[in-house]
Point group: C2
Protein backbone atom coordinates (compact mmCIF):
# COMPACT_ATOMS: atom_id res chain seq x y z
CA UNK A 1 0.00 0.00 0.00
CA UNK A 2 1.21 3.52 -0.58
CA UNK A 3 1.75 6.24 1.94
CA UNK A 4 0.89 9.93 1.56
CA UNK A 5 2.89 12.76 3.08
CA UNK A 6 1.90 16.42 3.17
CA UNK A 7 4.70 18.72 4.25
CA UNK A 8 7.48 21.05 3.28
CA UNK A 9 10.05 20.81 0.52
CA UNK A 10 12.95 23.15 1.19
CA UNK A 11 16.49 24.12 0.35
CA UNK A 12 18.57 23.86 3.53
CA UNK A 13 21.92 25.37 4.43
CA UNK A 14 23.39 23.60 7.43
CA UNK A 15 26.44 24.04 9.61
CA UNK A 16 27.58 21.51 12.20
CA UNK A 17 30.94 20.85 13.89
CA UNK A 18 31.54 18.34 11.06
CA UNK A 19 31.13 20.68 8.11
CA UNK A 20 28.60 22.72 6.19
CA UNK A 21 26.41 22.44 3.13
CA UNK A 22 24.57 25.07 1.06
CA UNK A 23 21.08 24.74 -0.42
CA UNK A 24 20.69 20.98 -0.22
CA UNK A 25 17.30 19.31 -0.57
CA UNK A 26 15.45 19.42 2.75
CA UNK A 27 12.01 19.84 4.28
CA UNK A 28 9.81 17.40 6.17
CA UNK A 29 8.16 15.92 3.06
CA UNK A 30 11.54 15.30 1.41
CA UNK A 31 13.03 13.44 4.37
CA UNK A 32 9.80 11.52 4.93
CA UNK A 33 9.53 10.52 1.26
CA UNK A 34 13.11 9.38 0.93
CA UNK A 35 12.72 7.30 4.10
CA UNK A 36 9.32 5.78 3.30
CA UNK A 37 10.30 4.98 -0.28
CA UNK A 38 12.72 2.36 1.08
CA UNK A 39 9.59 0.36 1.89
CA UNK A 40 6.72 1.32 -0.36
CA UNK A 41 5.29 3.74 -2.94
CA UNK A 42 5.07 7.32 -1.69
CA UNK A 43 2.73 10.13 -2.70
CA UNK A 44 3.89 13.64 -1.92
CA UNK A 45 1.91 16.86 -1.49
CA UNK A 46 3.99 20.01 -1.22
CA UNK A 47 5.00 23.23 -2.90
CA UNK A 48 8.19 24.55 -4.46
CA UNK A 49 9.10 27.78 -6.21
CA UNK A 50 10.24 28.45 -9.75
CA UNK A 51 13.86 28.10 -8.63
CA UNK A 52 13.53 24.52 -7.45
CA UNK A 53 16.34 22.54 -9.10
CA UNK A 54 15.33 19.96 -11.69
CA UNK A 55 17.81 17.49 -10.19
CA UNK A 56 15.67 17.22 -7.04
CA UNK A 57 12.53 16.59 -9.08
CA UNK A 58 14.47 13.87 -10.84
CA UNK A 59 15.68 12.55 -7.45
CA UNK A 60 12.10 12.11 -6.26
CA UNK A 61 11.15 10.35 -9.48
CA UNK A 62 14.12 8.00 -9.32
CA UNK A 63 12.95 6.78 -5.89
CA UNK A 64 9.46 6.15 -7.22
CA UNK A 65 8.00 9.05 -5.26
CA UNK A 66 4.79 10.23 -6.91
CA UNK A 67 4.98 14.02 -7.20
CA UNK A 68 1.60 14.62 -8.81
CA UNK A 69 0.87 16.63 -5.67
CA UNK A 70 4.06 18.70 -5.76
CA UNK A 71 2.88 22.12 -6.89
CA UNK A 72 5.19 24.70 -8.43
CA UNK A 73 4.23 28.31 -7.61
CA UNK A 74 5.63 31.64 -8.75
CA UNK A 75 8.32 32.78 -6.33
CA UNK A 76 11.13 31.13 -4.41
CA UNK A 77 11.34 27.75 -2.66
CA UNK A 78 11.24 27.60 1.15
CA UNK A 79 14.75 28.14 2.53
CA UNK A 80 16.18 27.35 5.94
CA UNK A 81 19.61 28.03 7.36
CA UNK A 82 20.58 26.41 10.62
CA UNK A 83 23.49 25.56 12.85
CA UNK A 84 24.18 22.86 15.43
CA UNK A 85 26.63 23.19 18.30
CA UNK A 86 28.76 20.37 19.69
CA UNK A 87 25.94 18.63 21.60
CA UNK A 88 24.06 18.38 18.26
CA UNK A 89 20.66 18.17 19.93
CA UNK A 90 19.17 21.58 19.11
CA UNK A 91 19.11 23.36 15.78
CA UNK A 92 19.69 27.08 15.94
CA UNK A 93 17.74 28.69 13.12
CA UNK A 94 19.83 31.41 11.52
CA UNK A 95 17.47 32.28 8.65
CA UNK A 96 14.06 31.11 7.55
CA UNK A 97 12.31 32.26 4.38
CA UNK A 98 8.95 30.51 3.95
CA UNK A 99 8.54 31.96 0.44
CA UNK A 100 5.93 29.93 -1.50
CA UNK A 101 5.39 27.62 1.48
CA UNK A 102 4.00 30.54 3.53
CA UNK A 103 0.77 30.77 1.48
CA UNK A 104 0.46 27.08 0.74
CA UNK A 105 -3.03 25.54 1.07
CA UNK A 106 -2.37 21.87 0.43
CA UNK A 107 -4.81 20.02 -1.79
CA UNK A 108 -4.77 16.24 -2.02
CA UNK A 109 -5.03 15.33 -5.72
CA UNK A 110 -8.02 13.06 -6.57
CA UNK A 111 -5.64 10.26 -7.50
CA UNK A 112 -4.25 10.29 -3.91
CA UNK A 113 -7.55 10.27 -2.04
CA UNK A 114 -7.71 6.52 -1.55
CA UNK A 115 -4.37 6.47 0.33
CA UNK A 116 -4.69 4.41 3.49
CA UNK A 117 -1.59 5.63 5.32
CA UNK A 118 -1.22 9.38 5.73
CA UNK A 119 1.40 11.50 7.47
CA UNK A 120 0.66 15.15 8.23
CA UNK A 121 4.10 16.65 8.67
CA UNK A 122 4.54 19.75 10.80
CA UNK A 123 2.35 22.64 9.54
CA UNK A 124 -0.35 24.86 10.98
CA UNK A 125 -2.96 22.62 12.65
CA UNK A 126 -5.65 24.23 10.45
CA UNK A 127 -3.82 23.18 7.30
CA UNK A 128 -3.26 19.70 8.74
CA UNK A 129 -6.95 19.35 9.60
CA UNK A 130 -8.01 20.43 6.09
CA UNK A 131 -5.79 17.75 4.62
CA UNK A 132 -7.01 15.16 7.08
CA UNK A 133 -10.60 15.77 5.95
CA UNK A 134 -9.57 15.18 2.32
CA UNK A 135 -8.66 11.56 3.15
CA UNK A 136 -11.73 10.48 5.15
CA UNK A 137 -11.28 6.77 4.55
CA UNK A 138 -7.61 6.50 5.48
CA UNK A 139 -6.81 3.64 7.84
CA UNK A 140 -4.06 5.46 9.70
CA UNK A 141 -3.54 9.21 9.86
CA UNK A 142 -0.56 10.33 11.93
CA UNK A 143 0.36 13.95 12.63
CA UNK A 144 3.48 15.75 13.74
CA UNK A 145 3.41 19.21 15.33
CA UNK A 146 5.85 21.57 17.06
CA UNK A 147 6.24 23.87 20.04
CA UNK A 148 5.23 26.97 18.03
CA UNK A 149 1.75 25.58 17.25
CA UNK A 150 1.23 24.18 20.74
CA UNK A 151 2.00 27.62 22.19
CA UNK A 152 0.14 29.74 19.64
CA UNK A 153 -2.60 27.53 18.16
CA UNK A 154 -3.45 25.30 21.06
CA UNK A 155 -7.17 24.96 20.20
CA UNK A 156 -6.22 24.08 16.63
CA UNK A 157 -3.85 21.37 17.82
CA UNK A 158 -6.56 19.94 20.10
CA UNK A 159 -9.07 19.97 17.21
CA UNK A 160 -6.54 18.16 15.04
CA UNK A 161 -5.89 15.53 17.72
CA UNK A 162 -9.60 14.70 17.86
CA UNK A 163 -9.45 13.64 14.21
CA UNK A 164 -6.20 11.76 13.82
CA UNK A 165 -5.18 8.25 14.81
CA UNK A 166 -1.67 9.01 15.91
CA UNK A 167 0.72 11.71 17.05
CA UNK A 168 4.48 11.68 16.65
CA UNK A 169 6.10 14.33 18.83
CA UNK A 170 9.25 14.88 20.82
CA UNK A 171 9.45 14.76 24.60
CA UNK A 172 9.35 18.53 25.08
CA UNK A 173 6.28 18.88 22.85
CA UNK A 174 4.43 16.14 24.72
CA UNK A 175 5.17 17.86 28.02
CA UNK A 176 4.22 21.28 26.65
CA UNK A 177 0.95 19.98 25.21
CA UNK A 178 -0.20 18.33 28.43
CA UNK A 179 1.55 20.26 31.16
CA UNK A 180 2.61 16.87 32.56
CA UNK A 181 6.28 16.26 33.33
CA UNK A 182 6.26 12.45 33.45
CA UNK A 183 6.43 11.30 29.83
CA UNK A 184 4.34 8.16 30.28
CA UNK A 185 1.59 10.09 32.04
CA UNK A 186 1.79 12.86 29.44
CA UNK A 187 1.48 10.40 26.54
CA UNK A 188 -1.48 8.70 28.21
CA UNK A 189 -3.07 12.12 28.59
CA UNK A 190 -2.75 12.63 24.82
CA UNK A 191 -4.59 9.34 24.22
CA UNK A 192 -7.53 10.94 26.03
CA UNK A 193 -7.48 13.77 23.48
CA UNK A 194 -8.20 11.53 20.52
CA UNK A 195 -5.30 9.53 19.06
CA UNK A 196 -5.00 5.85 19.76
CA UNK A 197 -1.25 5.88 19.45
CA UNK A 198 1.43 8.32 20.53
CA UNK A 199 5.09 8.05 19.61
CA UNK A 200 7.39 10.14 21.77
CA UNK A 201 10.78 10.85 20.21
CA UNK A 202 13.57 11.35 22.73
CA UNK A 203 16.55 11.98 20.45
CA UNK A 204 19.62 10.07 21.59
CA UNK A 205 17.43 8.38 24.24
CA UNK A 206 15.26 6.64 21.67
CA UNK A 207 11.50 6.55 21.49
CA UNK A 208 8.41 5.38 23.32
CA UNK A 209 5.14 4.05 21.92
CA UNK A 210 1.96 4.36 23.93
CA UNK A 211 -1.16 2.75 22.52
CA UNK A 212 -4.69 2.39 23.75
CA UNK A 213 -5.55 -1.27 24.34
CA UNK A 214 -6.96 -3.43 22.97
CA UNK A 215 -5.45 -2.53 19.64
CA UNK A 216 -5.82 -5.69 17.59
CA UNK A 217 -6.76 -3.56 14.59
CA UNK A 218 -7.76 -0.07 13.62
CA UNK A 219 -10.74 1.53 15.29
CA UNK A 220 -13.20 3.47 13.06
CA UNK A 221 -11.47 6.52 11.67
CA UNK A 222 -11.67 9.39 14.10
CA UNK A 223 -13.08 11.69 11.44
CA UNK A 224 -16.34 9.77 11.48
CA UNK A 225 -17.04 10.77 15.06
CA UNK A 226 -19.32 13.75 15.64
CA UNK A 227 -17.47 17.01 16.07
CA UNK A 228 -16.85 17.65 19.74
CA UNK A 229 -17.83 14.13 20.76
CA UNK A 230 -15.68 12.82 23.56
CA UNK A 231 -13.31 10.05 22.46
CA UNK A 232 -14.15 6.65 23.91
CA UNK A 233 -12.81 5.97 27.39
CA UNK A 234 -9.72 3.83 27.41
CA UNK A 235 -8.85 2.03 30.58
CA UNK A 236 -5.55 0.49 29.63
CA UNK A 237 -2.49 1.43 27.64
CA UNK A 238 0.34 -0.55 26.20
CA UNK A 239 3.89 0.76 26.51
CA UNK A 240 6.92 0.04 24.37
CA UNK A 241 10.40 1.51 24.71
CA UNK A 242 13.12 1.46 22.10
CA UNK A 243 16.64 2.94 22.23
CA UNK A 244 18.04 5.00 19.40
CA UNK A 245 20.24 2.98 17.05
CA UNK A 246 23.70 3.65 18.54
CA UNK A 247 25.47 5.19 15.60
CA UNK A 248 28.61 6.95 16.73
CA UNK A 249 28.86 9.06 13.57
CA UNK A 250 26.36 11.89 13.98
CA UNK A 251 27.22 14.60 11.46
CA UNK A 252 23.90 16.37 10.90
CA UNK A 253 20.68 15.69 12.85
CA UNK A 254 18.49 17.62 10.36
CA UNK A 255 15.54 15.54 9.21
CA UNK A 256 15.97 12.77 11.79
CA UNK A 257 12.38 13.13 13.04
CA UNK A 258 10.80 13.11 9.59
CA UNK A 259 13.00 10.20 8.52
CA UNK A 260 11.85 8.35 11.62
CA UNK A 261 8.22 9.00 10.70
CA UNK A 262 8.91 7.97 7.10
CA UNK A 263 10.50 4.69 8.12
CA UNK A 264 7.69 3.99 10.55
CA UNK A 265 4.81 4.81 8.18
CA UNK A 266 6.56 3.22 5.20
CA UNK A 267 6.95 -0.05 7.08
CA UNK A 268 3.32 -0.02 8.23
CA UNK A 269 2.05 0.72 4.73
CA UNK A 270 4.24 -2.04 3.30
CA UNK A 271 2.84 -4.64 5.69
CA UNK A 272 -0.68 -3.24 6.12
CA UNK A 273 -0.51 -4.53 9.67
CA UNK A 274 -1.58 -2.29 12.57
CA UNK A 275 -1.23 -4.66 15.51
CA UNK A 276 0.90 -3.60 18.45
CA UNK A 277 3.57 -6.01 17.29
CA UNK A 278 3.70 -4.31 13.87
CA UNK A 279 3.76 -0.87 15.47
CA UNK A 280 6.76 -1.90 17.56
CA UNK A 281 8.61 -3.11 14.50
CA UNK A 282 7.64 0.09 12.71
CA UNK A 283 9.33 2.13 15.45
CA UNK A 284 12.46 0.05 14.96
CA UNK A 285 12.46 0.70 11.21
CA UNK A 286 11.91 4.42 11.86
CA UNK A 287 14.77 4.45 14.34
CA UNK A 288 17.16 2.77 11.95
CA UNK A 289 16.25 4.95 8.98
CA UNK A 290 16.81 8.04 11.15
CA UNK A 291 20.23 6.66 12.13
CA UNK A 292 21.23 6.69 8.47
CA UNK A 293 19.98 10.25 8.01
CA UNK A 294 22.12 11.69 10.81
CA UNK A 295 25.32 10.03 9.59
CA UNK A 296 25.84 12.56 6.84
CA UNK A 297 24.59 15.97 5.73
CA UNK A 298 21.10 16.37 4.33
CA UNK A 299 19.76 13.35 2.49
CA UNK A 300 23.17 12.05 1.41
CA UNK A 301 23.42 8.96 3.61
CA UNK A 302 19.69 8.18 3.59
CA UNK A 303 19.61 8.33 -0.21
CA UNK A 304 22.46 5.80 -0.38
CA UNK A 305 20.84 3.43 2.13
CA UNK A 306 19.60 0.04 0.95
CA UNK A 307 16.83 -1.99 2.53
CA UNK A 308 19.28 -4.80 3.39
CA UNK A 309 21.32 -2.37 5.47
CA UNK A 310 18.16 -1.29 7.24
CA UNK A 311 17.22 -4.90 7.99
CA UNK A 312 20.73 -5.51 9.31
CA UNK A 313 20.49 -2.62 11.79
CA UNK A 314 16.98 -3.61 12.86
CA UNK A 315 18.36 -7.06 13.66
CA UNK A 316 21.16 -5.46 15.67
CA UNK A 317 18.63 -3.31 17.53
CA UNK A 318 16.66 -6.42 18.36
CA UNK A 319 19.81 -8.03 19.73
CA UNK A 320 20.71 -4.92 21.75
CA UNK A 321 17.34 -4.80 23.49
CA UNK A 322 16.76 -8.49 24.18
CA UNK A 323 16.31 -9.09 27.86
CA UNK B 1 26.74 -16.11 47.21
CA UNK B 2 26.94 -12.99 49.31
CA UNK B 3 27.72 -9.49 48.18
CA UNK B 4 29.87 -6.92 49.94
CA UNK B 5 29.27 -3.19 49.89
CA UNK B 6 31.58 -0.51 51.19
CA UNK B 7 29.97 2.91 51.40
CA UNK B 8 28.24 5.52 53.48
CA UNK B 9 25.56 5.18 56.11
CA UNK B 10 23.85 8.50 56.70
CA UNK B 11 20.91 10.33 58.14
CA UNK B 12 19.16 12.22 55.34
CA UNK B 13 16.73 15.13 55.43
CA UNK B 14 14.96 15.45 52.09
CA UNK B 15 12.52 17.88 50.56
CA UNK B 16 10.71 17.29 47.25
CA UNK B 17 7.50 18.72 45.74
CA UNK B 18 5.75 15.73 47.36
CA UNK B 19 6.78 16.32 50.95
CA UNK B 20 9.71 16.20 53.30
CA UNK B 21 11.36 13.90 55.79
CA UNK B 22 13.90 14.52 58.57
CA UNK B 23 16.85 12.31 59.48
CA UNK B 24 15.77 9.12 57.77
CA UNK B 25 18.22 6.30 57.11
CA UNK B 26 20.23 7.01 53.97
CA UNK B 27 23.68 6.69 52.44
CA UNK B 28 24.93 4.57 49.56
CA UNK B 29 25.62 1.45 51.63
CA UNK B 30 22.14 1.56 53.18
CA UNK B 31 20.30 1.78 49.85
CA UNK B 32 22.58 -0.81 48.28
CA UNK B 33 22.15 -3.23 51.19
CA UNK B 34 18.38 -2.93 51.34
CA UNK B 35 18.20 -3.51 47.59
CA UNK B 36 20.68 -6.41 47.40
CA UNK B 37 19.16 -8.15 50.42
CA UNK B 38 16.06 -8.84 48.33
CA UNK B 39 18.23 -11.37 46.50
CA UNK B 40 21.05 -12.59 48.68
CA UNK B 41 23.07 -12.19 51.88
CA UNK B 42 24.76 -8.80 52.20
CA UNK B 43 27.89 -7.78 54.05
CA UNK B 44 28.26 -4.11 54.87
CA UNK B 45 31.34 -2.02 55.61
CA UNK B 46 30.65 1.49 56.84
CA UNK B 47 30.83 3.86 59.77
CA UNK B 48 28.28 5.55 62.00
CA UNK B 49 28.53 7.88 64.98
CA UNK B 50 27.46 7.42 68.57
CA UNK B 51 24.09 8.98 67.73
CA UNK B 52 23.11 6.35 65.14
CA UNK B 53 19.63 5.14 66.09
CA UNK B 54 19.36 1.55 67.33
CA UNK B 55 16.24 1.05 65.17
CA UNK B 56 18.36 1.30 62.00
CA UNK B 57 20.85 -1.25 63.32
CA UNK B 58 17.86 -3.47 64.00
CA UNK B 59 16.52 -2.74 60.50
CA UNK B 60 19.76 -3.98 58.89
CA UNK B 61 19.67 -7.14 61.04
CA UNK B 62 16.05 -7.87 60.20
CA UNK B 63 16.95 -7.93 56.49
CA UNK B 64 19.80 -10.33 57.12
CA UNK B 65 22.43 -7.70 56.39
CA UNK B 66 25.70 -8.62 58.10
CA UNK B 67 26.96 -5.52 59.93
CA UNK B 68 30.14 -6.98 61.34
CA UNK B 69 31.85 -4.30 59.25
CA UNK B 70 29.69 -1.39 60.45
CA UNK B 71 32.03 0.50 62.76
CA UNK B 72 30.76 2.91 65.42
CA UNK B 73 33.09 5.84 66.06
CA UNK B 74 33.03 8.70 68.56
CA UNK B 75 31.19 11.66 67.04
CA UNK B 76 28.11 12.15 64.88
CA UNK B 77 26.78 10.14 61.93
CA UNK B 78 27.15 11.53 58.39
CA UNK B 79 24.24 13.89 57.66
CA UNK B 80 22.92 15.17 54.34
CA UNK B 81 20.14 17.65 53.66
CA UNK B 82 18.90 18.00 50.09
CA UNK B 83 16.10 19.32 47.98
CA UNK B 84 14.63 18.41 44.57
CA UNK B 85 12.75 20.78 42.30
CA UNK B 86 9.82 19.81 40.06
CA UNK B 87 11.91 18.05 37.39
CA UNK B 88 13.28 15.79 40.16
CA UNK B 89 16.45 14.99 38.27
CA UNK B 90 19.06 16.91 40.26
CA UNK B 91 19.51 17.00 44.03
CA UNK B 92 20.44 20.37 45.44
CA UNK B 93 22.62 19.80 48.49
CA UNK B 94 21.60 22.20 51.25
CA UNK B 95 23.85 20.84 53.99
CA UNK B 96 26.44 18.13 54.24
CA UNK B 97 28.22 17.08 57.43
CA UNK B 98 30.58 14.18 56.82
CA UNK B 99 31.23 13.80 60.56
CA UNK B 100 32.70 10.32 61.28
CA UNK B 101 32.55 9.42 57.56
CA UNK B 102 35.12 12.14 56.79
CA UNK B 103 37.98 10.26 58.47
CA UNK B 104 36.81 6.78 57.60
CA UNK B 105 39.46 4.31 56.40
CA UNK B 106 37.35 1.28 55.53
CA UNK B 107 38.68 -2.12 56.60
CA UNK B 108 37.19 -5.32 55.26
CA UNK B 109 36.77 -7.68 58.25
CA UNK B 110 38.57 -11.05 57.84
CA UNK B 111 35.22 -12.85 57.74
CA UNK B 112 34.26 -10.83 54.62
CA UNK B 113 37.47 -11.34 52.63
CA UNK B 114 36.20 -14.32 50.68
CA UNK B 115 33.27 -12.32 49.22
CA UNK B 116 33.06 -12.86 45.46
CA UNK B 117 30.84 -9.90 44.55
CA UNK B 118 31.97 -6.49 45.75
CA UNK B 119 30.52 -3.01 45.25
CA UNK B 120 32.66 0.02 45.98
CA UNK B 121 30.12 2.78 46.49
CA UNK B 122 31.08 6.38 45.83
CA UNK B 123 34.10 7.42 47.96
CA UNK B 124 37.56 8.81 47.32
CA UNK B 125 39.24 6.62 44.69
CA UNK B 126 42.15 6.03 47.10
CA UNK B 127 39.79 4.60 49.70
CA UNK B 128 38.06 2.50 47.03
CA UNK B 129 41.39 1.14 45.80
CA UNK B 130 42.48 0.22 49.32
CA UNK B 131 39.29 -1.75 49.77
CA UNK B 132 39.64 -3.36 46.37
CA UNK B 133 43.06 -4.70 47.34
CA UNK B 134 41.59 -6.26 50.48
CA UNK B 135 39.44 -8.59 48.36
CA UNK B 136 42.01 -9.86 45.83
CA UNK B 137 40.11 -13.01 44.90
CA UNK B 138 36.71 -11.42 44.25
CA UNK B 139 35.07 -12.54 41.00
CA UNK B 140 33.40 -9.21 40.29
CA UNK B 141 34.38 -5.85 41.71
CA UNK B 142 32.24 -2.93 40.56
CA UNK B 143 32.84 0.71 41.48
CA UNK B 144 30.76 3.86 41.47
CA UNK B 145 32.28 7.34 41.42
CA UNK B 146 31.11 10.93 41.02
CA UNK B 147 31.88 14.21 39.26
CA UNK B 148 33.84 15.55 42.26
CA UNK B 149 36.45 12.76 42.11
CA UNK B 150 36.67 12.82 38.32
CA UNK B 151 37.42 16.54 38.45
CA UNK B 152 39.72 16.56 41.49
CA UNK B 153 41.26 13.07 41.71
CA UNK B 154 41.45 12.08 38.10
CA UNK B 155 44.64 10.01 38.43
CA UNK B 156 43.12 8.20 41.38
CA UNK B 157 40.01 7.35 39.40
CA UNK B 158 42.14 6.05 36.52
CA UNK B 159 44.22 3.93 38.93
CA UNK B 160 41.01 2.52 40.38
CA UNK B 161 39.64 1.68 36.95
CA UNK B 162 42.75 -0.37 36.15
CA UNK B 163 41.90 -2.69 39.05
CA UNK B 164 38.13 -3.14 38.93
CA UNK B 165 35.93 -5.25 36.69
CA UNK B 166 33.08 -2.83 36.30
CA UNK B 167 32.04 0.79 36.57
CA UNK B 168 28.52 2.05 37.26
CA UNK B 169 28.23 5.76 36.48
CA UNK B 170 25.73 8.23 35.15
CA UNK B 171 25.82 9.75 31.69
CA UNK B 172 27.41 13.01 32.78
CA UNK B 173 30.16 11.22 34.69
CA UNK B 174 30.96 8.99 31.72
CA UNK B 175 31.25 12.05 29.47
CA UNK B 176 33.31 13.95 32.04
CA UNK B 177 35.68 11.03 32.54
CA UNK B 178 36.38 10.53 28.84
CA UNK B 179 35.74 13.93 27.28
CA UNK B 180 33.58 12.10 24.73
CA UNK B 181 30.02 13.31 24.09
CA UNK B 182 28.59 10.20 22.43
CA UNK B 183 27.70 7.82 25.27
CA UNK B 184 28.45 4.61 23.40
CA UNK B 185 31.87 5.88 22.35
CA UNK B 186 32.51 7.18 25.86
CA UNK B 187 31.62 3.86 27.47
CA UNK B 188 33.83 1.97 25.01
CA UNK B 189 36.63 4.36 25.92
CA UNK B 190 36.23 3.36 29.56
CA UNK B 191 36.61 -0.30 28.61
CA UNK B 192 40.07 0.63 27.37
CA UNK B 193 40.90 1.98 30.83
CA UNK B 194 40.46 -1.39 32.55
CA UNK B 195 36.90 -2.51 33.33
CA UNK B 196 35.24 -5.17 31.23
CA UNK B 197 31.78 -3.82 31.85
CA UNK B 198 30.36 -0.32 32.09
CA UNK B 199 26.82 0.47 33.14
CA UNK B 200 25.69 3.97 32.22
CA UNK B 201 22.70 5.22 34.21
CA UNK B 202 20.56 7.74 32.36
CA UNK B 203 17.86 8.48 34.96
CA UNK B 204 14.40 8.52 33.40
CA UNK B 205 15.99 7.38 30.12
CA UNK B 206 17.08 4.05 31.56
CA UNK B 207 20.49 2.46 31.36
CA UNK B 208 23.04 1.04 28.98
CA UNK B 209 25.42 -1.87 29.41
CA UNK B 210 28.64 -2.02 27.43
CA UNK B 211 30.77 -5.14 27.80
CA UNK B 212 33.98 -6.30 26.21
CA UNK B 213 33.42 -9.41 24.12
CA UNK B 214 33.76 -12.29 24.36
CA UNK B 215 32.45 -12.33 27.91
CA UNK B 216 31.40 -15.92 28.41
CA UNK B 217 32.81 -15.81 31.90
CA UNK B 218 35.00 -13.73 34.17
CA UNK B 219 38.49 -12.86 33.04
CA UNK B 220 41.28 -13.09 35.59
CA UNK B 221 40.79 -10.47 38.26
CA UNK B 222 42.31 -7.18 37.18
CA UNK B 223 44.25 -6.87 40.39
CA UNK B 224 46.52 -9.71 39.31
CA UNK B 225 47.86 -7.68 36.42
CA UNK B 226 51.12 -5.89 36.90
CA UNK B 227 50.74 -2.32 38.05
CA UNK B 228 50.76 -0.01 35.04
CA UNK B 229 50.35 -2.86 32.56
CA UNK B 230 48.14 -1.94 29.70
CA UNK B 231 44.78 -3.75 29.76
CA UNK B 232 44.37 -6.30 26.97
CA UNK B 233 43.16 -4.95 23.63
CA UNK B 234 39.48 -5.52 23.03
CA UNK B 235 38.26 -5.41 19.50
CA UNK B 236 34.53 -5.82 20.02
CA UNK B 237 31.92 -4.69 22.47
CA UNK B 238 28.42 -5.82 23.23
CA UNK B 239 25.70 -3.23 23.79
CA UNK B 240 22.47 -3.53 25.71
CA UNK B 241 19.86 -0.83 26.29
CA UNK B 242 17.11 -0.89 28.89
CA UNK B 243 14.46 1.75 29.65
CA UNK B 244 13.71 2.84 33.19
CA UNK B 245 10.72 1.06 34.69
CA UNK B 246 7.94 3.57 33.92
CA UNK B 247 6.65 4.33 37.36
CA UNK B 248 4.51 7.45 37.33
CA UNK B 249 4.86 8.01 41.08
CA UNK B 250 8.26 9.56 41.63
CA UNK B 251 8.30 11.09 45.10
CA UNK B 252 11.98 11.07 46.03
CA UNK B 253 14.86 10.06 43.72
CA UNK B 254 17.40 9.79 46.58
CA UNK B 255 19.19 6.45 46.53
CA UNK B 256 17.97 5.38 43.10
CA UNK B 257 21.48 4.81 41.79
CA UNK B 258 22.66 2.78 44.78
CA UNK B 259 19.43 0.78 44.76
CA UNK B 260 20.04 0.06 41.09
CA UNK B 261 23.55 -1.17 41.88
CA UNK B 262 22.20 -3.21 44.81
CA UNK B 263 19.56 -4.92 42.69
CA UNK B 264 22.08 -5.57 39.95
CA UNK B 265 24.85 -6.96 42.18
CA UNK B 266 22.38 -8.81 44.39
CA UNK B 267 20.93 -10.61 41.39
CA UNK B 268 24.39 -11.50 40.04
CA UNK B 269 25.54 -12.82 43.42
CA UNK B 270 22.34 -14.86 43.79
CA UNK B 271 22.83 -16.57 40.44
CA UNK B 272 26.63 -16.60 40.32
CA UNK B 273 26.28 -16.14 36.56
CA UNK B 274 28.38 -13.51 34.75
CA UNK B 275 27.39 -14.16 31.14
CA UNK B 276 26.08 -11.27 29.07
CA UNK B 277 22.60 -12.70 29.40
CA UNK B 278 22.84 -12.63 33.19
CA UNK B 279 24.26 -9.11 33.14
CA UNK B 280 21.26 -7.95 31.08
CA UNK B 281 18.85 -9.50 33.55
CA UNK B 282 20.83 -7.94 36.39
CA UNK B 283 20.28 -4.49 34.87
CA UNK B 284 16.56 -5.21 34.74
CA UNK B 285 16.51 -6.19 38.41
CA UNK B 286 18.47 -3.07 39.31
CA UNK B 287 16.09 -0.92 37.30
CA UNK B 288 13.04 -2.37 38.99
CA UNK B 289 14.46 -2.13 42.50
CA UNK B 290 15.32 1.53 41.82
CA UNK B 291 11.72 2.11 40.68
CA UNK B 292 10.50 1.02 44.10
CA UNK B 293 12.97 3.30 45.85
CA UNK B 294 11.82 6.46 44.09
CA UNK B 295 8.13 5.82 44.79
CA UNK B 296 8.38 7.00 48.38
CA UNK B 297 10.75 8.90 50.65
CA UNK B 298 13.99 7.32 51.78
CA UNK B 299 13.91 3.54 52.12
CA UNK B 300 10.19 3.32 52.87
CA UNK B 301 8.96 1.75 49.63
CA UNK B 302 12.07 -0.31 49.01
CA UNK B 303 11.89 -1.76 52.52
CA UNK B 304 8.29 -2.83 51.90
CA UNK B 305 9.06 -4.41 48.50
CA UNK B 306 8.83 -8.16 48.11
CA UNK B 307 10.72 -10.28 45.60
CA UNK B 308 7.45 -11.31 43.90
CA UNK B 309 6.69 -7.64 43.17
CA UNK B 310 10.16 -7.26 41.72
CA UNK B 311 9.67 -10.30 39.51
CA UNK B 312 6.34 -8.92 38.33
CA UNK B 313 7.89 -5.62 37.23
CA UNK B 314 10.83 -7.35 35.56
CA UNK B 315 8.29 -9.36 33.54
CA UNK B 316 6.51 -6.11 32.60
CA UNK B 317 9.82 -4.57 31.56
CA UNK B 318 10.49 -7.58 29.39
CA UNK B 319 7.10 -7.13 27.76
CA UNK B 320 7.64 -3.39 27.25
CA UNK B 321 10.94 -3.89 25.43
CA UNK B 322 10.08 -6.89 23.25
CA UNK B 323 10.60 -6.09 19.61
Amino acid sequence: MSVLVVGSVALDSIETPFGRVEEVLGGSASYFSYAASLFTAVRLVGVVGEDFPAEHVEGFRRRGIDITGLVREPGATFRWRGRYQAAMNVAETLEVHLNVFGEFRPVVPPAYRDTEFVFLANASPQAQLEVRRQVPSARLVVADTMNFWIANERQGVLALLREVDGLVANDQEVRQLTGVQNLVSAAREILRLGPRLVVVKKGEHGSMLVTATPSKGPRPAAVHREAGAHPPERSATELFFLPAYPTTEVKDPTGAGDSFAGGMMGYLARTGDLTDEALRKALAYGTVVASFTVEDFGLRRLAAGRLEEVEQRVAELEQMTRL
